[in-house]
Amino acid sequence: MIKSNRFSWFLFSSPQSFYPLAGALQPWFALLAVALCAAGLYIGFFVAPTDAQQGESYRIIFIHVPAAWMSMFLYLVMGFWSGVGLVLNTRLSSMVATALAPTGALFTFIALWTGALWGKPTWGTWWVWDARLTSELILLFLYIGFMALQAAIDDPRRADKAGAVLALVGVINIPIIYFSVQWWSTLHQGASVSMKSAPTMAATMLLGMLVMALGFWMYSIAATLARVRCVILERERHTDWVAAEIGAQK
């Protein structure tokens, strides 16, 4: 029983068997992403009431907060698969980590952009050195560093491992960076500019955010699966099954 379980687990850890699985799963995750985002937007725009303090401008948080959650979550997932790839020496986990980085960086960018557009009407400036925005900016730098390091190394196995060490160093550092930025920001501006002041969030607002976050999550999975398929084809081009796959595509 246990043995057969282990067997099926390792079966899908080979790029050859994961490639068709990813191809089969990807449309379903994409469909789920569209459905959840549509539901989230409906809740966000047609169910959730107007915020008493911020007016309609608060509706930005339905993408801002889920994007910020995803940006941090994806870095952790990236660190996890990097660690698995480093310890177990499985190529597929490293490929997944590589495939996650661009999507994570995009969500970080979205969180920063929407944060700026939310800050302008709420705080009166496009950019505030608020702890969250600052941490998010540094997170974007970490994503860019990871991608730049992997892009600069020609040997794919070395790129995987070097990226994995960097991702793990980043995972250890993120809480430290977040804590230090928090400390720094409370020291420099006090409580006058704080997002915590939003006192009672309507249940529908929270629901809209959660549904949108789920939608973004499904989107991330679909995008990562699509990217990992490209990576697999590129890396495994010397195998017969990729040659057969390309022959079938043409």
């Binding site: 509706r59 994007a67 995009l106 929407t114 009407p121 995008a223």
Partner: protein
């Protein structure tokens, strides 16, 4: 939430620029990623097809 009219919906209580600016850029970024992924897949298949064709030709001339 009842917006009444399209104008009200687009105006977002005077914050239309900020709200729709956020949503438009988010949509644009996600669509750009999807297009980039499609282009990358096409590019990979194209390149590998050429690679295999070249390898076949190479094999044939050697035989």
């Amino acid at each position: 939430m009842n917006w009444g009219s399209w104008q009200n919906f687009l105006a977002m209580g005077g914050y239309g620029l900020y709200v729709w600016g956020s949503y438009a850029v988010t949509l644009a970024v996600l669509v750009a990623e999807i297009l980039a992924l499609i282009a990358r897949r096409r590019g990979v298949i194209e390149r590998l097809a050429k690679f295999y064709a070249a390898r076949r030709r190479n094999d044939e001339t050697e035989v």
